[in-house]
Amino acid sequence: VSVTAVSPVDVEDIEETLDDDRPWVTIVWNDPINLMSYVTYVFQKLFGYSEVKARKLMLDVHRKGRASVSVGTREEMERDASRLHAYGLWATVAQD
């Protein structure tokens, strides 16, 4: 278990959320290493998506180069990106 200190950046994040309520998204990017079967499995496992939805997202990543896989607050998206990183997917966080 880690101890996380509160920093000025965390405070800034809260202000940002107050002024601007556009949702945040987690984006997964295409890469030539991760297997199609693996990416589909990870989307099902982490987000509880059906196989059909997970496969569609995987194909979006594969063909379009990227896909938004979840929507929410910045904190939620950072958590999702970290979970995807733990599985080796190339995920970033951005405001929609």
Binding site: P32, I33, N34, S37, Y38, S82, Y87, G88, T92, V93
Partner: protein, 185 residues
């Protein structure tokens, strides 16, 4: 993305009891060697500030990884925002490294000896999945796989290409991972 290939002689099988793994002697030895190297690669970055180091807290962000393979294991979620990116590293890098090292250590400890069968529960299956995939990410980065075309190029390397042994190991890991995904419920 790459398409999986089949046919590992022993490998992962789904049975009534769960997912089983059998490995021939050389494959088990190769895998142990590779997983051991993940631990070496995932050495936690030192805490530079002496006071922070003394109390075991990190309050300043560790620098982004120099090694491209390590950078691939620890992606930057804010590539266009250096401040947010640094803050993310400060808060998350140590945890992510610990998580990946712990999974690798558990996998290493559970590699089945020749003739033995490893029965994977839900948690150990996830350890094997992520560790096999991390190994593929490291080798794939070393092989400079940057797009889907460069991945296809590896299939037709000439006999004297120095990358061939690494490509063979990469292929072995790909087959094993694909087999595990197929065997999972």
């Amino acid at each position: 993305m790459a398409k999986g290939r089949r046919q590992v002689p022993d490998g992962f099988r789904r049975t009534g009891a769960g997912v089983e793994l059998r490995l021939p002697r050389l494959e088990a030895a190769l895998l142990s060697e590779l997983v051991g190297q993940i631990e070496v690669l995932l050495e936690p970055p030192p805490v530079e500030d002496p006071l922070e180091a003394m109390v075991g807290l990190r309050d300043t962000a560790p620098p982004p990884p120099d090694d491209p393979a390590l950078a691939r294991l620890l992606p930057d979620p804010y590539p266009d925002d250096p401040l947010a990116s640094g803050d993310f590293r400060r808060r998350r890098t140590d945890d992510m490294i610990a998580r990946k090292r712990d999974a690798a250590r558990r996998v290493l400890a559970s590699v089945p000896a020749p003739g033995e069968v490893l029965l994977l529960d839900e948690e150990s299956a996830q350890d094997w999945l992520t560790t096999l995939n991390d190994l593929r990410l490291v080798l794939g980065t070393r092989l400079e796989l940057t797009d889907d075309d460069s991945a296809q190029e590896l299939d037709g390397l000439p006999a004297d290409d120095p990358r061939r042994p690494v490509v063979a190991v990469y292929g072995f890991l790909t087959e094993l991972l694909d087999e595990l995904i197929t065997a999972l419920p």
